[in-house]
């Protein structure tokens, strides 16, 4: 699905700016904790995957990931995070996302591929941390925007130790 990192990438369908606008919008929803609107960016068969930190290129079916959500899983994750009983996120973390190095290409199956680097600072009264990730998308063009068919965040960390300990927010 993902072309080699060294390839020059180009889409004949959409400009990088259009994709960037969408990614910035998604980041804004996440930072604002408008998670139901974020959830609704996904297609009905949308998926959200975060592989384990020691197995970034593992088999998504047979191996254990950190997050392996189908649409129902995404719904459940959002239901939980919006609850005041999601104790680790109550009070909610303040997050600030930077999205850079955006590249796009035409996926063989009609979707638009996108890859970007993300840094998320997460601050709580008890502690602060910064997550880095390479995030890959399959975006399905819809009107003048997109829906997310697949989102996969490869964490730029060998373990979660000393980067928050756990991953309780959405990357």
């Amino acid at each position: 699905m993902i072309p080699a990192a060294t390839e020059q990438l180009r889409s004949n369908k959409r400009t990088r700016t259009e994709v960037e606008d969408f990614l910035y919008y998604e980041a804004q929803l996440l930072d604002a904790w408008r998670l139901e609107e974020w959830r609704d960016l996904f297609t009905e068969d949308g998926t959200y995957l975060v592989p384990s930190t020691d197995n970034p290129e593992g088999d998504p079916v047979m191996d254990l990931a950190l997050v392996d959500d189908d649409r129902e899983g995404i719904n459940g994750r959002v239901q939980r995070l919006m609850s005041t009983y999601a104790h680790i996120e109550n009070p909610r973390s303040t997050t600030t996302r930077l999205i850079t190095n955006v590249r796009v290409w035409d996926d063989d199956f009609g979707d638009l591929g996108a890859i970007c680097n993300v840094m998320v600072t997460r601050s709580r009264v008890a502690s602060s941390t910064t997550y880095a990730a390479s995030v890959q998308y399959l975006l399905r063009p819809e009107g003048d925007s997109f829906r997310i068919a697949h989102k996969q965040a490869i964490l730029g960390h060998h373990t979660l130790r000393h980067v928050g300990g756990v991953l309780s927010i959405i990357i």
Partner: protein, 441 residues
């Protein structure tokens, strides 16, 4: 009681166990009270003593044989505070080697896993076999007369052994044999190993959860089988399962059926119950999705064919949270998790967790298992992060009265047969811990 209940459960806890009163633990009678001094979570001296009297004395979990299936395979990890290599030699035997060069002490391997015949220290190029023997070094002739390579192999624990594929090591020359140490925990390790009737056996899947908490390691030992916290802390998990179609009452006595807590000997404990969640091995629930029902039922049929109906029923439907003293958790819950953890400081621990699954599990069944695992477990699951927050919150709270205060662990102490949401399992841990620590009166 059923045959899964150990002999210890035939006598009430307060009649079976003598009272004790030390600087760390108060195990009192008339009235029955169990208190743990909060300084055991915060004190540097206590941690230093634990390294010596607990981690250097017990059998400590190293890994599962399935992690290194072929000759030359190895994984590098921390065991009892030490960097070790868990390897398989050319003859196919597993070995546990201390990952520190016999020359100057640098790690001889800095990869986390792989397959190789030799470990070459990059500092002076001393090279060791995956049996730990020193094979070669540059300019061997420069060493003085009488220097023998065979005296300079990698150090090893005093003993290494496995029970049904679970490998342990001990750094204590006087430690009893592993099977004696494990005591009644072997029954539950058997139930775990028997989940895979085929030749492939149970295997640790790829993908490791490596995370950390800013809390004392013993809080995780308590938390891993704490039934009392499940409803308040994991309400969001239970609510999401309800949304997905499961029947969950949201109360301990209705949701946890057939619940008991047992003392398995040597500080090992287990809580057993039939829990409200599904289990990919054999208990289908609507939250797992209608399309998975057949897969789960087929898995149950395989268990019946291999084990007979009664044993299959136990393997399939007896959920349990087991702690093998001091720091190995094996939970057969919505999936099978192996979890181990080490203190880095009084208020800091590292956790490593794996999923254990039948090695011949088809892709569809593995997918059901992974979804079930991640619905609750793991540092990005819907439940485990809130455990982290609870334990970190305790640790922050202990700063309120430095060196003072007592935790109450008395729940269910008057009962003959307390359920999993009482605290017999934690008292069992603490009694053993206090014995080993030799707490002064």
């Amino acid at each position: 009681m059923d045959d899964f209940a150990p002999a210890s459960s035939r006598v009430a806890e307060i009649e079976r166990v003598l009272p004790r009163e030390t600087e760390f633990v108060r195990d009192l009678r008339n009235p029955n009270r169990f208190l743990v001094a909060r300084k055991v979570f915060t004190d540097d001296q206590v941690l230093r003593a634990e390294r010596d009297r607990v981690f250097n004395k017990c059998w400590i979990y190293v890994g599962h044989v399935s992690e290194i299936p072929r000759p030359g395979d190895f994984v590098a990890r921390e065991v009892a505070g030490r960097p070790v290599l868990f390897t398989r030699n050319a003859q196919g035997e597993y070995r546990v080697l201390l990952n520190s060069c016999s020359h100057r002490g640098a790690e001889v391997c800095r990869e986390r896993r792989g397959n190789q015949r030799r470990f070459r220290c990059f500092y002076h190029s001393w090279s060791f076999s995956n049996d730990g023997a020193l094979v070669s070094m540059p300019d061997e002739s420069g060493f003085p007369e009488g220097f023998r390579k065979e005296d300079h192999g990698l150090a090893q624990p005093y003993a290494v052994d496995d029970y049904r594929g679970f490998v342990f090591a001990t750094f204590n020359p006087e430690q009893e044999p592993l099977v004696d140490y494990l005591a009644d925990a072997t029954y539950y390790l058997d139930l775990t190993a028997d989940q895979a009737p085929g030749e492939a056996g149970m295997v640790v899947t790829a993908g490791t959860h490596e995370y950390s908490m800013r809390s004392n390691w013993k809080l995780l030992a308590e938390n891993s089988s704490d039934g009392y916290h499940a409803i308040p802390v994991h309400k969001t998990y239970l609510d999401v399962q309800k949304t997905k179609g499961d029947t969950i009452a949201g109360s301990t006595d209705k949701d946890w059926k057939e619940s008991h807590a047992f003392d398995l000997g040597n500080g090992h404990t287990v809580t057993v119950k039939q829990a409200p969640w599904g289990r990919p091995i054999a208990r289908w629930k609507p939250s797992m999705g209608a399309d998975t029902k057949e897969i789960v039922e087929a898995s149950y049929e395989r268990l019946v064919a291999a084990n007979g109906k009664d044993r299959a029923e136990l393997i399939a439907n007896l959920d349990f949270n087991m702690l093998i003293f001091p720091n190995l958790v094996i939970n057969n819950i919505m999936a099978v998790i192996i979890r181990t953890f080490y203190p880095q400081a009084p208020g800091e621990l590292n956790v490593t967790a794996w999923s254990l699954a039948p090695g011949d599990e088809p892709a569809e069944a593995r997918h059901v298992r992974n979804e079930s695992f991640l619905s609750f477990l793991g540092p990005a699951g819907l439940a485990t992060p809130d455990d982290n927050e609870a334990l970190e919150s305790c640790q922050r709270g202990y700063a309120a009265r430095p060196g003072e205060g007592w935790n109450d662990v008395s729940r269910g102490m008057d009962k003959f047969d307390p359920p999993n949401w009482d605290e017999l399992q934690m008292r069992t841990f603490w009694r053993r811990w206090d014995e080993l620590m030799g707490g002064k009166a």
